[in-house]
């Protein structure tokens, strides 16, 4: 390959690119799509589509329980899912009851509703209610399932929940059409065990690491839909045609991932060029090959 021969010396200087150029590339690949989204297409997974179709088929003014039970460490992944689902639900004028199984839950609920309520003409009490932290995850969910009116009595500001217009017609958990749990842990499984059998369909919004644990429930049909990680949020925005936090993020993800792969290729091209020029194997420190490989006579130099 003559062209490679010619380019060899140029490739060699990619062996030790100053890290700061890499930082700059990552920074730009995150920043630029925020100004000008590229809108790279993504395919929508089956599990996201199922969630969308379920929400889309809800009647106007349906009763929905929202449960933000994720840890703050995964809000970067889960909040975009919550916003995408909320926009869709609010466009269908769904009545929302927020149930909070974590200390931070009511904060996330308040923040999300404050940012969207004007756009959709929502009003506290009439269209949605936020209840305070309910400790004890598994037992809390069991109590909601058996007697929701006894388990939740007052809202975050101490007013009686069931006098509010949004939920005044509720007599038991079965009156709700849908429950959406945003989780990083076991809460969704408890909901599936306790609440789903009472005729409430359950959708999960999960962080990337939680997805494998929930897959079996999707296969068995207990879980009616699943959004996984930032990707799931982007898919939902795509399918519901409301580009938001996640879809903008997906362009940044695509670009930054591509930038990293490009740098890996450059580094290897440099290696290859140097190797063929010197006509021998590069014997620099090899993390992959020599690390901790403890057998006798294992050669290897280190830098």
């Amino acid at each position: 390959m003559a062209w490679f021969e010619r380019l060899k010396p140029r490739f060699e200087r990619f062996d030790k690119i100053d890290s700061r150029y890499i930082y700059l590339a990552v920074f730009l690949s995150v920043l630029l799509p925020l100004f000008r989204p590229i809108g790279l297409p993504i395919t929508v997974g089956e599990q996201t589509r199922e969630a969308f179709l379920l929400v889309d088929g809800l009647p106007q003014g349906a009763l929905v329980i929202m449960s933000p039970s994720f840890a703050p460490s995964s809000d970067a992944e889960v909040v975009p899912q919550m916003m995408a689902l909320l926009k869709h639900l609010m466009s269908k004028n769904a009545k929302l009851l927020w149930v909070n199984l974590t200390v931070e839950g009511s904060m996330y609920a308040t923040r999300a509703m404050d940012s969207l309520k004007d756009e959709f003409g929502y009003e506290y009490g009439r269209d949605y209610v936020i209840t305070p932290y309910l400790p004890g995850q598994q037992t809390a969910i069991a109590s909601i399932a058996s007697d929701i009116k006894g388990a939740l009595t007052v809202d975050v500001s101490g007013k009686p929940v069931w006098d509010m217009e949004a939920v005044s017609g509720v007599s038991s958990i079965s009156d709700f059409d849908l429950l959406i749990d945003f989780n990083t842990g076991d809460t969704c499984i408890y909901y599936l065990q306790q609440v789903q059998p009472k005729g409430v369909r359950v959708i999960a919004g999960a962080s990337g690491v939680t997805v494998p644990y929930l897959m079996p429930y999707l296969g068995s049909g207990q879980l009616a839909g699943l959004l996984g990680g930032l990707r799931g949020a982007a898919e939902y925005e795509m399918v519901s045609k409301t580009p938001g936090l996640a879809l903008g993020g997906m362009d940044a993800q695509s670009l930054s991932h591509a930038a990293i792969v490009l740098f890996i290729i450059l580094g290897n091209a440099a290696n290859l060029a140097a190797k063929s020029r010197r006509g021998r194997l590069d014997t620099g420190a090899d993390n992959g090959e020599n690390q901790g490989f403890g057998y006798e006579n294992q050669g290897g130099t280190s830098k």
Partner: protein, 199 residues
């Protein structure tokens, strides 16, 4: 541009941290020392309230058993006097003993027995075979008595290394997305919430 002083503080601090990427500099070092200072103070504040709520108040309410940890806690400070240094090893030993027991409790079941159980898969698909052989091979790599590189053990151990490298590579690639999703909100905060350039 934002008029919220909180946003200004947070944004300037964000820039200070980013400046470290270019070069170690005085501004970042100042931020570093303030950060350590307030986080140490925060930890001490929380510790103060913990000792008061879980130690002193129940003790005054009659739970005499709490004298043990409270005296033990004070003994930790005996290390500052040369003659009594050994006394501080009593509470340290207690902490280490209970921590070690918790370690054993957590490891033997969830990380050993249950992992073995989860690997007992029917050898009916290629994936299952790979899972079983791969796990066995990786465990073989950790046999410290296995000195030879040849033989079945040696080959298995080598295959185990390959499995681990595949696992590391996959996990590395998978984490890139999560790390980027941490950076995106920060960039959005600076260029959106603070500068108002992005919506």
């Amino acid at each position: 541009m934002s008029r919220d002083p909180g946003v200004w503080v947070a944004a300037l601090l964000t820039l200070a941290v980013w400046s470290y990427l270019i070069k170690q500099n005085l501004v970042f070092q100042v931020v570093e020392h303030v950060f350590i200072g307030i986080s140490a103070a925060h930890a001490m504040t929380m510790a103060y309230f913990t000792i008061r709520a879980k130690g002193v108040q129940p003790l005054l309410a009659g739970d005499v058993s709490l004298l043990f940890p409270l005296i033990g806690g004070v003994l930790l400070y005996s290390r500052f006097l040369p003659k009594t240094t050994w006394l501080s090893r009593i509470p340290l030993g207690f902490t280490m003993g209970t921590a070690a027991a918790v370690v054993i409790r957590g490891s033997v079941d969830a990380s050993f027995v249950k992992q073995i159980q989860a690997t007992m898969l029917p050898l009916t698909s290629l994936d299952n075979v790979l899972m079983v052989v791969g796990t066995i091979a990786t465990v073989t790599y950790f046999l410290f008595n296995l000195k030879s590189r040849s033989g079945v053990g040696g080959y298995l151990a080598r295959f185990g290394r390959y499995m681990m490298m595949a696992a590391f590579g996959a996990a590395y690639g998978n984490t890139v997305m999560m790390r980027m999703s941490l950076l995106i909100p920060r960039v959005r905060f600076v260029f959106g919430d603070w500068l108002g350039l992005v919506k």
